[in-house]
């Protein structure tokens, strides 16, 4: 996705269909590309070309896509270690994303950050954070800046169900509410922490939505596998924040098709659970949706094959890419570009 393109589409609902064809194709394209890219990441891992850890969003594409399309250029994204999807959804390149997972010089951070810290300031992705909960207050700070400077962007913060039980969640939500900050908190409830079901460790049914009232916020639970529903909810929350209406928290019900991280076979899932959710695969839902709205099969498959092509090209570029030069080791610790802590 080019960020220019989003701007061209505009974010206002068009005509009778509040979402409109062009935006729908964009939602589809993003989901397809994220899916293909994540699958590729999995393959590369099996080929031992991805070192360290990685956390896929397979099955959760609709959330990233819905927000990616609803957000304007300038709106800021704050992601977790499970942030490939959100980074792509703002327009970052597949090379940049996969290259970082492969820890090559072509990666978004040239391999210095790794899969858990994807950042693309060019695309307003202000980082992926690997300490659960930490980025919620940080997103508040970005929103505070917008409010203080009178800038019209909104900060959007993605996190998991598990993050709702850590202290920083609570502090951030209260902070955002009392200062009426233009920030949208997006909880992707995929039913699990790493391996532990969220229901076993959470006092309420909806880990995010059932906490909203603690901060004077509305309780919002949506189908996180339906990109249209995500888009509409995102659009409304963004508009509210932009208009000075303060923060929102949105709980998106979804499911990850793969394990928590690279090697996790996800044996802790009850039999049949994955199968149920596969029926509600966001891509199945959305292909169906496009058909309902009269999109021709070949338009759909054009997007799909273009995505495959892009993934192949990106993979090839990443495989060919060198590692970063070793002088990067001590670069950019401080603003002077170096690491000198003494004279």
């Amino acid at each position: 996705m080019e960020s220019g393109k989003i701007a061209a589409v505009g974010s206002e609902p068009v005509g009778n269909d509040d979402i409109g064809l062009e935006r729908r194709l964009e939602l589809f394209r993003l989901q397809v590309e994220i899916r293909d890219c994540e699958k590729r990441a999995y393959d590369l891992f099996l080929q031992n070309l991805i070192k360290g850890t990685s956390h896929l969003s397979l099955g959760q594409e609709a959330v990233a896509a819905g927000f990616g399309v609803a957000m304007r250029k300038g709106d800021k994204s704050f992601c977790t270690y499970r942030g490939h999807a959100h980074t792509l959804a703002r327009g970052a390149s597949m090379e940049g994303m996969l290259g970082e997972l492969m820890l090559r010089d072509i990666g978004l951070m040239r391999g210095k950050g790794g899969s858990m810290h994807l950042t693309s300031v060019e695309h307003d992705v202000l980082g992926s954070y690997a300490i659960i909960g930490a980025h919620l207050p940080i997103a508040c700070g970005s929103a505070w800046r917008a409010q203080y400077l009178g800038e019209k962007d909104v900060s959007v913060c993605f996190f998991g169900d598990g993050a709702t039980n850590i202290g920083a969640f609570h502090e951030a939500l209260n902070f955002a509410a009392i200062w009426k900050l233009p920030v949208v908190f997006v909880c992707e409830n995929n039913l699990y922490m790493e391996y532990t079901p969220i229901s076993e460790v959470t006092a309420v049914k909806h880990p995010a939505a059932d906490r909203a009232a603690s901060y004077g916020l509305e309780s919002i639970v949506i189908d996180g596998n339906d990109a249209d529903e995500v888009y509409r909810t995102a659009y409304a929350a963004l508009a509210k924040a932009r208009d000075g209406g303060g923060p929102s928290i949105i709980e998106c019900l979804t499911y990850r098709h793969s394990g928590h991280s690279r090697a996790d076979p996800a044996k802790y899932r009850p039999p049949g659970e994955l199968e149920e959710w596969l029926k509600r695969d966001p891509l199945i839902i959305y292909r169906q949706r496009l058909k309902e709205f009269g999109v021709a099969d070949d338009a759909i498959s054009a997007i799909e094959s273009e995505s495959k092509r892009k993934v192949e090209a990106a993979t090839a570029a990443c495989k060919a890419a060198p590692q970063a030069p070793v002088d990067l080791l001590t670069a950019d610790v401080y603003a002077d570009g170096g690491w000198a802590w003494r004279n």
Binding site: T119, P137, S142, F175, V333, A340, R342
Partner: protein, 326 residues
């Protein structure tokens, strides 16, 4: 030129920077309307208003996190941690977030902010409100760390910290708030990473900082008058960047190094400086390097015990004498 308390210097330093740059904002608990629990920020709320001087809930993680998010996107926040000890409840932001941001993002993001802390002991506040935590911050790569000991340094280093493009942890010393010093009129801007020789001397080097700087200076006076020991006293001021040149240069001259720090003993900044000297100045040394520290204990509340715990001028004198005169 005017006499100013260390406390008033804090407010003046912050005001100087807020006047200069609209992007400088200030947040913390009870800092605004109430002027801070140490009254070190009196008048800022009245001068700069509620949008730039913001009272927060008791949410230290949100305070540092919000400061960081604002810094990343264009503001220049100053965040207060009322007592330095409270860094423990938001340590993630120093240890894992603001310090690593620039590096992890390959320089895409930066985090120009200042975290002020009410550091140090001597005020009978007990174990959870009296710690010197310079080493908690010094040990983390990616932050800068300063600890002024006089009003003029407070203003100058505050300006340097606010203007610095990296996160700076600014340790004010609670027991110094009431102390006074001469401060020139007009804008004062210092430089991070420069130690100050408070007293030149030839027999030994004493490196100190914060409340320990005036105590080391007092000890040096006694050492000269009563023991014929001519000590060079260095106020380290900035732990990161560390002015090793001044320290090593002094050792080259004196041949002996003492460090005086309020941290409990293990892994304090004294150990870092001692280790640097033991490596790089080994052949300049005429005898053991001696660290004078708070013993490795939590701080007691009782006045007579706390006074025993923190290095005093008398203890410095006694130790230096014993070591140098055998």
């Amino acid at each position: 030129m005017a006499e100013l308390t260390y406390r008033d210097a804090v407010a003046r330093g912050i005001a100087q920077e807020m006047e200069r740059d609209d992007r400088v904002v200030f947040l913390g608990e009870d800092i605004g309307k109430a002027g801070g629990v140490f009254k070190a920020t009196v008048g800022l709320y009245e001068k700069f208003g509620p949008l730039r001087v913001r009272d927060t809930p008791i949410s230290e993680q949100a305070i540092l996190g919000a400061a960081m998010g604002a810094a990343m996107t264009g503001l220049r926040p100053i965040a207060e941690l009322m007592f330095a000890d409270f860094l423990a409840v938001c340590f993630d932001y120093v240890a894992n977030e603001m310090s690593k941001l620039r590096y992890m993002t390959n320089g895409q993001l930066s985090c120009p902010l200042v975290v002020r802390t009410g550091n140090g002991g001597g005020v009978r506040f007990g174990a959870q409100h009296s710690q010197s935590i310079e080493n908690w911050t010094m040990m983390i790569p990616g932050v800068k760390v300063v600890a002024p000991s006089s009003p003029v340094d407070v203003i100058g280093l505050m300006a340097a910290a606010v203007r610095d493009p990296d996160p700076v942890i600014f340790h004010e010393h609670k027991a110094l708030y009431a102390t006074k010093g001469e401060v020139p009129d007009g804008e004062i801007v210092d430089v991070l990473g420069i130690a100050k020789i408070l007293r030149p001397g030839s027999d030994c080097t004493i490196a100190a900082l914060g409340l320990m700087a005036p105590r080391a200076l007092e000890a040096a006076g006694v050492l000269a008058r009563e023991h014929k020991i001519d000590a060079e006293v260095i106020d380290v001021r900035s732990l990161v960047p560390l002015d090793t040149q001044t320290i090593l240069g002094s050792i080259a001259k004196t041949g002996r190094l003492f460090t005086v720090e309020e941290n409990p003993r293990l892994c304090g900044w004294g150990a870092e400086i001692a280790s640097i000297a033991a490596d790089e100045a080994f052949w300049d040394l005429d005898g053991p390097i001696v660290r004078i520290t708070t013993p490795h204990i939590p701080l007691p509340a009782a006045d007579h015990l706390e006074d025993l715990a923190l290095p005093s001028a008398a203890r410095i004198v006694e130790k230096v004498c014993r070591v140098l005169n055998g």
